[in-house]
């Protein structure tokens, strides 16, 4: 977000402008009439908070999705055997099929690994800031995916299906739990400031769930969402009069047509819209954040500033009760690479990607912790798959896509901190012990939110659909 621009815009809207006007109108109307009840039925709200199935450990989630496929072998999954096997042929793994079909020799990680903190968990030097936080993190070393193709694998991580058209985790949460703050969307997406991921909004779609549950993507500059405000030429006094006239007409129509709760919901929606005109600019207004906070998120460094802002914004959103905030780190697959898809050169690519992700995410984790937010917020760090222990092509320096083993981590209430679960084999090719599918990850996230993944269902074309399809086990060993 361009701080200056947004702030100026916000002041224009609130000081003498429309935000204030809409709000004034709203407050007047609310005190005079309140939200009208209809024929004894409550006014329905799409996002009204709904009770979970059982007592939750966390109330909201921030997900960092690193697009392109982060190499587990160069970040969190330490493989001494790969150092010994460097340059040798991979053996004993059965029929090898890689995405680009040109498996090379084993390649040790070019990054040094160290044991970190009290937990002694291994993190490579690629991620020095996150390494300091290892004691807060809960690792899943035995993750697997169903596809070695980026977008199906990303769909799988988001929706539990490798196909187009299924609701993503955030949509399920919006549908299942509603949100605590009606003045903000329930599910906010913050694309990488360098560019949205391949497929764009397909990634945060609601599929067959009502469209109201899809992610609302905040734009990196200008107003965060389209049409939050009318164009500048619309005069605020006139808009206020218009809102009053409209409200009166809608109330007349509602009164003439009792029994239709949607008509009351429409009136309510305009009230909430007016509130959003102040709540959204205020959540993206960082003017009250201290220098120390900005520094923590790396906002004073050009390399980390963009993603750092998104991380800080994520904290501000969950602070205000947004249910699910999803941050993408990484954009399209074009040239030059702006994601983790290190086919050509793992050092060049991952060094570059880590530089903009490491400090902001570590800063976010630290900030959530110091503000007590981690007591009821889950931070989830994922990627769509890992990367091959072999190079892509002989004598090359990059790694290909690898769905058979990769690493994700979480942090937050209800989890064992500084804990690792599951493992991949000696070279990180197959997940072995504690193998976790994406379904299990989803079941666990829902469990932490107080939802039974088998009971969170939506009927669609013959099936009571679930985020976890017909699979999923809560990963008990990582629960505190």
């Amino acid at each position: 977000m361009n701080d200056e621009l947004t702030r100026r815009h916000f002041l224009r809207q609130t000081g003498s402008g429309l935000g204030a006007v809409a709000l004034a109108w709203l407050l007047n109307e609310e005190s005079a009439a309140g939200t009208p009840p209809v024929a004894g039925r409550p006014v329905p709200s799409e996002y009204a908070p709904k009770p979970p199935h059982f007592a939750p450990k966390v109330k909201r989630v921030i997900q960092i999705f690193c697009m392109g496929g982060v190499s587990h072998l160069d970040t969190f999954d330490y493989k001494p055997e790969l150092i010994r096997g460097d340059g040798k042929e991979l053996a004993g793994k059965g029929n090898i099929e890689t995405f680009f079909g040109q498996p090379g020799r084993l390649m040790k990680s070019p990054f040094a690994f160290k044991q970190r903190g009290k937990s002694g968990l291994w993190v490579s030097d690629l991620l020095p800031h996150l390494a300091e936080q290892a004691d807060e993190m809960t690792f899943l070393y035995g993750m697997t995916s169903k596809s070695s193709n980026h977008t199906p694998a990303a769909f799988f991580m988001n929706t539990g299906f490798t196909q187009n058209g299924y609701p993503c985790l955030g949509s399920w949460l919006s549908y299942g739990l509603g949100t605590e703050n009606q003045d903000l969307p329930a599910f906010v997406v913050l694309p990488d400031p360098r560019g949205v991921p391949a497929g764009g909004a397909i990634n945060w779609q609601s599929g067959f769930l009502p469209a109201s549950h899809q992610g609302t993507a905040f734009r990196p500059s200008g107003d965060p969402i389209p049409d939050l405000f009318p164009p500048q030429e619309v005069q605020s006094a006139k808009r206020q009069a218009g809102m009053k006239f409209l409200d009166r007409s809608n109330r007349d129509f509602m009164n003439a047509n009792p029994g239709d709760s949607a008509l009351a919901a429409r009136i309510r929606a305009y009230e909430l819209a007016a509130r959003m005109q102040s709540s959204i600019p205020s959540v993206v207004d960082f003017s009250k954040e201290s220098e120390a906070t900005r520094h923590l998120y790396g906002m004073d460094n050009p390399e980390t500033a963009g993603f750092g802002k998104n991380c800080l914004l994520a904290r501000r959103l969950v602070e205000r009760g947004v249910r699910f905030v999803q941050l993408y780190h990484g954009g399209a697959f074009g040239a030059p690479r702006i994601n983790w898809d290190a086919h050509e050169d793992i050092v060049e690519n991952h060094t570059h990607q880590a530089a903009s992700m490491d400090q902001p995410v570590a800063g976010l984790l630290r900030d959530l912790k110091q503000r007590g937010l981690l007591d009821d917020t889950l931070l989830l760090w994922t990627t769509e798959f890992g990367r091959t222990p072999m190079t892509q092509g002989l004598g090359a320096k990059g790694r290909d896509h690898h769905p058979h083993a990769f690493t994700c981590w979480m942090a937050g209430a209800g989890l064992k901190p500084g804990f690792g679960h599951g493992s991949s084999d000696e070279v990180g090719y197959y997940a072995t012990e504690g193998r976790s599918e994406v379904f299990d990850l989803h079941a666990t996230v829902l469990h932490l939110l107080g939802l039974d993944h088998k009971r969170l269902t939506f009927y669609h074309n013959g099936i009571q659909r679930r985020l976890t399809d017909v699979h999923g086990e809560v990963i008990q060993p990582i629960l505190a």
Binding site: A39, F100, G101, G195, G200, A211, K238, G242, G259, D341
Partner: protein, 1002 residues
């Protein structure tokens, strides 16, 4: 729902009478409560596998008991085994009963333990006797008590059901409301004030009927109902997934649907065309476009690029087929056959084998653009095109000869090789002054920081490249050639020349340092036709020019040359698609400086002196001669000056002729294309164990669902049956009047859109998990009536719209609502919000801005950025093209409109038999602030001013009539006029477009 309760109540009453005949008895518990407990026992102590030998299937069986003895002693709870076991917590196994439940059982046994049918466990799946699998039975309409309310048989069925629940129809809606309702319902557009006047003035009894007929005849009907159909068939005009490329020709299917509905095509034909229209003999344009149905779903473009034998690729194909098979099953049959891919259907009688039989019928379907012409017409067309191309080629050869003559005269001393052996390229880029092709029409466009300077194409390796126009004709064998200067020898993966299909799906390229630093390679997609060549790294001085050529021969051999001599050994590629690549006319172009579109590291740093393309494989001597002859270094002006006047005239004439031929070609060439089925002959089909592509089971031949017994489901086709036969048989099987589902499912869809809820509320699911019909006899009656009318939609619409059920008012009745809150029994017309498209269309209509142009390519209200994937940013434009009806807006998966989306426009890739309706703050913001709505409000105001004059009161009257289809009340006029005087007419129009009354139909 209520019927169940009534039945239980009756049973309880009977039991109570019986109990009353006893002398003294404890209070009889509610049989429903007893049933709730006993039915749990029956799940284990049932007929099939009675646990402990105990069958709780009836009173006698329970008294006979199992190995431990009788279940109970009637009247004596304390002596009863059942009570002892549940009290001790031994039963049921899932956990002890609540004490209240045990007490219920005690009372029941104490009162005599009478048995009830309701104790039987609820069935948990449908069998072959499932209601929807039986042929519809036409029963005569019932005779309700209030016969005067019956206008046609629909009313008789509806009213009879209402009367059962002591309800009735509401009084008729007022005429203005009815006109607005039926106009939106049939056309998705509001009535005009003139239509309103005519209707209100017409006092004849047939006024409404005439209106219905007028609306059914309107072309707007097909646009509106076509949109409904497009929801069901998940019509998308982009691929979805990673790239989300646009399907330029998918709109032909949309036009096919609209035209078919306007023409009131019989449903059987509509069905057959969509499944197999391309296989009819002869195939019509309609038939070909219709098959767009099968391939309208999402398609994983990247997944289709990976190696064809790989597991991943097989999985991708299997997912495509599931998507297609599932859509056929749900759209036409209301059966979720896709649930039987991995195992027998859990809820409906669809064995796994049946899924694979349906799939086998579709196994040869592939998606793609194809000519909309049948084979004969296509052949003639191709002949004409190839003649034109050959004429152009003749001119170009002659042009080049004259130019070479000029070049030689202008001082380019012939090099040691005799010029006659120097081969003639079909395209040549000298980069003397521009990026044009000096021979053919393959002119280049510069991207990034690419420039032409010092007679060379300058490439910075950071985004600079050149892309040419599309190839005018297909290229098979070929030679790529260039002189290039590469100061940076450590660079990796950049290409000098590449020829590729769009988005680099297929390419052949001269690549530097990709797999090995400093070495040349013939690059190709996924290295399918590439091989590392044994040569030393490039060691020539960094500023020198290197001549490089890649030759692709018809026999598939690839030869590489550097400075006129072979570079590495000639080889036959052995990769996944090793055969000679064909780059199609209009579907391929050349790149200089970029390996392929979207490559992560394919940019070249360096300078290209000259590049040439040949449409044949040059021999070693020709390559050598070309190298020795060198590149051109004569400016076009010098060259012309060296020609005689006669030669110049000839050259000019040849060029003119060539250009004219090019124009003709451009006009003739694009044979109309449609995104539709491109079939191929598949091998035999197999059942896949657990749906896993690696676990082939038995061979399966094409067939229908065995649960439908009114017609043979075996198509009697062998495993190697021709592709067309499979789909034709499937189409006939579905469209057959003997199929019990086809007509029922379709009439239910029509009912759903008229009333906002189907007689079956789950229009894609007539199976066990779907809803049961609220009016089964009516559904059957309508299905048979539909068949009697040859499956035409319009008579059915007419029947429904002329019923009193449809014409009743939407007024709310608290008493009726207490009995039937959801209006399932139709005691009123349920008000509803307009669909997203209708909202937008209505705004355009009211503002007078609607562009009524029908059909043709979709409008694209966004800007596009291509960076490997396509990224779309919505735009808003007042251009008339963008004021067409919303059904003509292109349906791109990742390019949704914020306004339409906020109004619940569904995801294009999702089969949507019924839309959800939500009300959200984001929706309010869109309606309040979107530039589209604000502009329509201004245009609306201008229109009102023009039509009503300057008086605010007259303006208000006009505006209300346009927006709401009614006159304002005196109070409304007064309030609105005051508002207009204060805020201006555009603000009133804005408020009207935002108002609930505008968005809702009553």
């Amino acid at each position: 729902m209520n019927r169940g309760r009534v039945l239980l109540g009756a049973a309880a009453m009977m039991a109570a009478n019986w109990a009353g005949a006893q002398t003294v008895g404890p209070a009889l518990p509610s049989m429903a409560k007893v049933a709730a407990v006993i039915s749990r026992c029956v799940s284990c102590h049932g007929d099939k596998t009675p646990s402990g030998g105990l069958r709780l299937t009836g009173r006698a069986a329970a008294l006979k008991g199992g190995v431990s003895g009788a279940a109970f002693v009637a009247g004596m709870p304390d002596q009863s085994l059942l009570i002892r076991r549940v009290t001790a917590g031994q039963m049921p196994p899932g956990g002890p009963l609540k004490s209240s439940e045990i007490e219920t059982l005690r009372q029941w046994i104490a009162s005599g333990a009478e048995w009830s049918a309701s104790f039987a466990p609820k069935p948990n799946r449908a069998g072959l006797d499932w209601w929807s699998l039986q042929k519809p039975v036409r029963v005569p309409p019932p005779k309700p008590k209030h016969g005067l309310l019956v206008r046609n048989p629909i009313d008789a069925f509806v009213l009879a059901e209402l009367e059962q629940h002591h309800l009735s129809l509401s009084p008729p809606a007022d005429r203005a409301t009815l006109l607005r309702r039926v106009s939106y319902d049939l056309t998705g557009m509001p009535p005009t004030p003139n239509e309103l006047d005519v209707f209100l003035r017409d006092k004849s009894p047939s006024a409404y009927e005439k209106t219905v007929d007028r609306l059914l005849a309107s072309p707007r009907y097909g646009e509106h109902w076509g949109r409904h159909w497009l929801d069901v068939v998940r019509f998308a005009e982009s691929e979805g997934f990673e790239r989300d490329s646009i399907r330029d020709h998918a709109w032909r299917y949309r036009d096919y649907v609209i035209c078919s509905l306007n023409a009131d095509k019989p449903y059987a034909q509509f069905v057959r065309e969509q499944i197999a229209g391309d296989a009819f003999v002869p195939a019509s344009q309609d038939g070909i476009a219709a098959t767009g149905f099968l391939v309208a779903g999402p398609w994983d473009q990247v997944g289709n690029l990976v190696a064809s034998g790989s597991i991943l690729r097989k999985q991708v194909r299997e997912e495509e087929l599931e998507e297609m098979t599932g859509t056929v099953g749900q759209t036409f049959l209301g059966m979720t056959v896709n649930c039987a891919r991995c195992h027998d259907h859990k809820f409906d009688p669809i064995p796994q084998r049946d899924y694979y039989r349906l799939k086998a019928a579709l196994e040869g379907v592939k998606a793609g653009d194809r000519p909309l012409l049948n084979a004969t017409d296509n052949l003639a067309h191709e002949k004409l095109i190839s003649q034109l191309r050959s004429d152009i080629n003749g001119r170009e050869v002659e042009i080049e000869k004259i130019q070479q003559t000029g070049a030689e005269r202008a001082g380019a001393e012939p090099q040691s090789g005799a010029p006659s052996t120097v081969p003639l390229p079909i395209a040549k880029w000298t980069f003397e002054t521009d990026a044009n092709d000096s021979i053919g029409g393959l002119h280049g466009k510069l991207f990034g920081a690419a420039t032409i300077a010092h007679g060379r194409l300058q490439l910075d390796g950071r985004g600079a490249y050149l892309q040419t126009d599309p190839l005018p004709r297909a290229l098979h064998e070929k030679t790529l050639e260039a002189w290039v200067c590469l100061p940076d020898r450590a660079q990796r993966g950049g290409a000098v020349i590449s020829i590729e299909t769009p988005q680099g799906a297929m390419f052949d390229a001269i690549v530097f340092g990709e797999r090995e630093t400093g070495k040349w390679i013939a690059g190709s997609e996924f290295f399918h036709r590439s091989r590392d060549l044994e040569e030393p790294v490039e060691k020539s001085p960094p500023q020198s020019l290197v001549h490089i050529a890649a030759v692709y021969a018809r026999d598939n051999t690839i030869r590489f040359y550097r400075n006129g001599v072979p570079y590495g050994k000639a080889y036959l590629p052995t990769g996944d698609t090793p055969e000679l690549a064909t780059f199609p006319a209009g579907g391929a172009h050349l790149l200089f400086g970029l390996r392929h579109t979207g490559s992560g590291n394919g940019l070249l740093t360096g300078e290209i002196e000259e590049a040439r393309l040949y449409d044949r494989a040059l021999g070693a001597e020709e390559v050598s001669a070309s190298y020795r002859a060198g590149f051109s270094h004569i400016s076009p002006e010098k060259l012309l000056a060296a020609l005689t006047a006669e030669e110049r005239g000839r050259l000019e004439m040849l060029r003119k002729e060539r250009d004219a031929l090019h124009d003709r070609l451009a006009h003739e060439e694009p044979a109309p294309l449609s995104y539709a089925v491109n079939s191929f002959q598949p091998g035999p089909s197999f059942l896949l164990v657990r749906g896993d592509v690696q676990q082939q089971g038995e061979t399966v031949t094409a067939g229908g669902l065995t649960c439908i017994r009114s017609e043979p489901s075996d198509f009697a086709l062998p495993a190697n049956a021709p592709e067309a036969q499979r789909r034709l048989r499937l189409a006939d099987w579905i469209a057959s009047p003997e199929n019990p589902l086809t007509a029922r499912v379709m009439v239910n869809r029509i009912w759903h859109y008229h009333f906002g809820r189907g007689l079956v509320a789950t229009p894609n699911d007539f199976g066990f998990n779907g809803e049961r019909p609220t009016h089964p006899a009516l559904l059957d009656w309508l299905a048979t009536e539909f068949q009697r009318q040859s499956g035409r939609w319009k008579p059915l619409h007419r029947l429904i719209l002329l019923s009193n059920t449809y014409c009743q008012s939407s007024r709310f009745d608290a008493q009726a609502a207490a009995i039937d809150a959801d209006d399932r029994l139709l005691w009123r017309f349920a008000p509803r919000r307009l669909e997203a498209e209708a909202v937008r269309d209505a705004m355009l209509s009211v503002s007078g801005q609607l562009n009524p142009l029908m059909g043709g390519p979709s409008f694209r209200p966004f800007t596009v950025v291509h960076n490997n994937s396509f990224f779309y940013t919505p735009t808003d434009s007042p251009d008339p093209e963008f004021n067409r009806r919303t059904v003509y807006r292109i349906n791109v998966n990742s390019a949704k409109s914020p306004l339409l989306e906020a109004l619940d426009c569904p995801d294009p890739s999702t089969r949507t038999p019924r839309r959800t309706v939500t009300t959200t703050p984001l929706q309010a913001l869109e309606l309040m602030n979107s530039s589209f709505v604000l502009r329509q409000a201004r245009c609306f105001a201008e229109r009102v001013r023009a039509e009503a004059g300057a008086s605010p009161a007259a303006q208000c009257v006009r505006a209300y009539r346009l927006a709401f289809g009614r006159l304002p009340t005196a109070a409304e006029t007064e309030r609105a006029s005051a508002f207009v005087r204060q805020s201006g007419l555009p603000d009133l129009c804005w408020a009207l477009l935002n108002s609930s009354e505008f968005l809702y139909v009553r």
